[in-house]
């Protein structure tokens, strides 16, 4: 008897507990959505990385446990549930009395009678059917609030994407500027361009300010425009290359000239065995193998055969300064062109956002379009063009020997071929730096004893012929 009655009460109390839990969860959901709706105007204050669509979930995760803690199921709640059963079935407190008696160890006959009568009254009674779930105002409001919230998120999402796009666009310009400044710095260091190095530092500073958020997009634009104007003014004041003979020379030619000057300077180094006079003669002999330098020296000093070493040295100093100044000038011109291009891009983006045309498309796609439109500034900056026909790759010959025909004759050569698709885009290392490095290595190899004495001139001529071929181009 007691077991069935106990089970009946257990079913009742378990059912009420379940309804309470459901009610608390629905309340938490309702209040989370309501708060999110009320606080939705403040979503603009959230940082970009914070997604306002998760605000209701966050509030729910905080509110639900709090509600469960504030309203735990207590003995009084069980009593109330049983009391409600009494009232509903008009049992005149038989249920409550029986529920308490079940918890007593000793039960007299009078208590047993109460249990019996209570069990009789509760036979066939299903508490779930009597105490059905009731729809509270929270349960009715929650779906409405959810729909409203969805609408708000939908409307607000466009604004957030726009703001995000604007921010990403602004930071992209600064990132481009920073990348350019780094390349410029590396180039200036490798070529010894002092003014370019100074400009590179200035550009890096401007980019860093924008990326750190110290200035806004407008501020970046003004800074870039100021630097570009400064460079333009300098260019106009300078009015052309410092030496007209450099006007037609390409950058590579100037670098070759610089390398030849370094080579000649090496030859001018005083030798303890030969003395000052001997190095001058050697330098002149070497000059024969430095065509560009020989040409330039010939322009300035028609009869240079009898020049002394110290005069040659001072001439080289002057030439070096001129070459460096020309390279510096050209680099600054290129910098100015880059800054102008960057400014045009920033203005175009700003106009696009203001007029609202084409809208902020996916940032990645927009960047791709820009890359396709932008001209490469440095060698290797040219984006790779997609060829219509697939390029046939050379057959893979790993370490296979190949028969080559060179200047001296024919012979075996070794090569390693790698299969791969070239990808367009900016190279990480500047071409000038590579060439300069190669030239230095070649000079060092020539100076070393690994190459036989008889073949040194031949090897030197070979490398120099490479530069002549490019100069002709």
């Amino acid at each position: 008897m007691s077991a069935s009655l106990q089970e009946k009460f257990s079913v009742l109390i378990g059912w009420e507990k379940l309804k309470r839990r459901e009610a608390l969860l629905i309340s938490a959901l309702c209040y989370s959505l309501l708060f999110s709706l009320v606080a939705s105007p403040a979503a603009a204050l959230l940082p970009l990385w914070a997604d306002p669509s998760v605000v209701p979930a966050v509030i729910f995760l905080v509110l639900a446990p709090a509600l469960f803690l504030l309203r735990p199921w207590r003995t009084g709640d069980s009593l109330r549930a049983v009391w409600l059963l009494d009232r509903t079935l008009d049992m005149e407190e038989r249920a409550i009395t029986a529920w308490e008696i079940l918890g007593r160890e000793k039960k007299g006959s009078a208590e047993l009678l109460v249990l019996e009568e209570a069990e009789g009254r509760l036979k066939g009674v299903d508490p779930k059917a009597i105490f059905k779930r009731r729809l509270t105002w929270q349960g009715i409001s929650a779906p409405l609030f959810f729909l409203l919230w969805l609408l708000f998120v939908f409307l607000d999402d466009g604004a957030r994407v726009e703001r995000s796009f604007k921010a990403s666009q602004a930071s992209r310009a600064a990132a481009q500027l920073r990348e350019f400044s780094r390349q410029l710095r590396d180039r200036a260091i490798s070529q010894g361009l002092s003014e370019s190095l100074e400009m590179a530092r200035a550009l890096e500073r401007v980019a860093a300010e924008r990326l750190a958020g110290e200035v806004d997009e407008k501020g970046l634009q003004e800074n870039v425009a100021g630097l570009a104007d400064g460079l333009r003014g300098k260019e106009e004041a300078g009015a052309g290359p410092s030496d007209l003979s450099f006007a037609m020379a390409t950058a590579e030619g100037l670098l070759d000239l610089k390398a030849e000057m370094e080579a000649l300077r090496t030859a001018l180094l005083p030798d303890s065995a030969k003395g000052q006079e001997g190095s001058g003669r050697e330098a002149l002999e070497r000059l024969g193998n430095l065509p560009r330098l020989k040409e330039e020296i010939g322009k300035r000093l028609p009869s240079f055969e009898k020049i002394e070493a110290k005069d040659l040295r001072s001439l080289l100093d002057r030439l070096e300064k001129q070459v460096a100044a020309e390279l510096d000038r050209r680099t600054l011109v290129e910098t100015m062109e880059f800054l102008d291009h960057l400014l045009r891009g920033m203005e175009a983006r700003e106009n696009q956002l203001l007029t609202g045309e084409a809208g902020p498309a996916e940032p990645g796609r927009s960047a791709q379009v820009e890359r396709e439109k932008a001209r490469g500034i440095f060698p290797g900056d040219q984006p790779g063009t997609k060829e219509s026909a697939e390029r046939s790759l050379p057959p893979f010959k790993a370490s296979a020997g190949a028969h080559l025909k060179g200047l001296l004759g024919e012979g075996k050569g070794g090569s390693l071929s790698f299969r791969g698709e070239p990808k367009g885009g900016k190279s990480g290392v500047s071409q000038e730096e590579i060439l300069a490095s190669y030239r230095r290595q070649a000079e060092e190899e020539l100076a070393s004893e690994r190459i036989p004495e008889a073949l040194r001139e031949t090897v030197k001529k070979y490398f120099l012929s490479l530069g002549m071929a490019e100069g002709k181009k």
Binding site: R80, E93, I96, T97, S109, L113
Partner: protein, 335 residues
């Protein structure tokens, strides 16, 4: 341990006896159904009642009839200002024994009856009142150092005349608190008056049958105490008693009327009366346990004489009934 069926039988017997008593009384007394119920409840709870009503409402007839039906001895004491305690309790009287020796013989007073009607108790002096009250409390009389037990069951029904209060000695509150119930004897309704006229001015009604005796009453008294009461119901009674107090520290907080008009709230005796009376009501109704409605039904008679009002209540015309009505309305069954 008794079987459940035995419990059910005795419940049925108690209810049956109660029904028969009521039916027999109804043959003699017109109306007063509630009063009869409450007096019987007080009897089976071992309590005494204080009846308040104007003269001529049938109080004496009721009590006498009850005594006859229950086959219990009945006595009526008319309290007057010159009544002495010995007039109630009895006294030692010098008599001669058969051998002619003088000895003191205790002559029992009218209090030595099962049911005593103390008419207009407020007319006697406090000393005389206390003699009766002492016997109510102790169920014995001490005279000349000797204790004389009163018969069992023993019940006193004292009356107070609400009019003609001049020259009376109102019972002190502490003494009133000893009464189980304070019952108001209402003026009969129009229909009842007509029936009273028919019943009393025609041929004399037959004598009521004896349906129960003293042992039966004592048995029912024992059964009453065995009726289970749930903690929640008991807690409700406790909160009800505490709600009659003006202090906020008592119970769930003082009610507005109690805070304003009550000087002292009910004593713990009020709680005892409340629960015992509720048990009696449950038993006589054929239910195995006490319900909230039982508590509500007996709250007024059990508590109305235990609440002392202040002067503001007198000035405002506030009654104890209104204060108890507020308590019954605002104290929830299950908090």
């Amino acid at each position: 341990m008794e079987a459940i069926t035995e419990i059910q039988e005795r419940m049925a017997r108690a209810r049956g006896a109660f029904g028969e008593v009521k039916a027999e009384i109804a043959r003699v007394i017109v109306g007063h159904e509630e009063l009869i119920d409450q007096i019987f409840m007080a009897l089976v709870c071992g309590g005494h009642c204080l009846l308040e009503g104007v003269p001529g409402l049938g109080k004496t007839l009721l009590v006498r009839t009850l005594g006859e039906i229950l086959n219990l001895s009945f006595s009526r004491i008319q309290f007057t200002p010159d009544l002495m305690p010995a007039d109630i309790t009895g006294t030692n009287v010098l008599t001669d024994d058969p051998s002619g020796k003088k000895l003191f013989d205790f002559q029992r007073g009218p209090v030595f009856a099962h049911i005593v009607l103390a008419d207009e108790i407020n007319r006697a002096t406090p000393k005389t009142q206390s003699a009766l009250l002492e016997s109510m409390q102790e169920q014995s009389v001490t005279v000349g150092g000797k204790v004389h037990r009163l018969p069992s069951p023993f019940m006193v029904l004292a009356t107070q005349n609400p009019i003609e209060m001049e020259g009376t000695y109102p019972l002190p509150e502490a003494q009133i608190d000893r009464f189980f119930f304070k019952l108001m004897v209402r003026y009969p309704s129009r229909g009842d008056l007509g029936r009273i006229a028919d019943l009393t001015t025609a041929s004399l009604p037959p004598a009521p049958d004896k349906v129960l005796d003293g042992d039966g009453v004592l048995e029912i008294r024992e059964w009453v105490r065995q009726v289970p009461v749930a903690e929640a119901v008991k807690d409700f009674a406790v909160r009800l008693v505490l709600a009659t107090h003006p202090q906020e520290s008592q119970g769930d907080g003082a009610l507005p009327l109690a805070r304003r008009f009550v000087l002292y709230g009910s004593s713990p005796r009020g709680l005892q009366s409340l629960i015992l009376a509720a048990k009696a009501r449950a038993l006589l109704s054929g239910r195995p346990n006490v319900s909230f409605n039982d508590i509500r039904a007996v709250a007024l008679p059990a508590l109305r004489h235990r609440i002392i009002l202040n002067l503001e209540a007198d000035a405002e015309g506030m009654s104890v009934e209104k204060i108890l009505a507020e308590a019954l309305e605002r104290v929830v069954e299950v908090p």
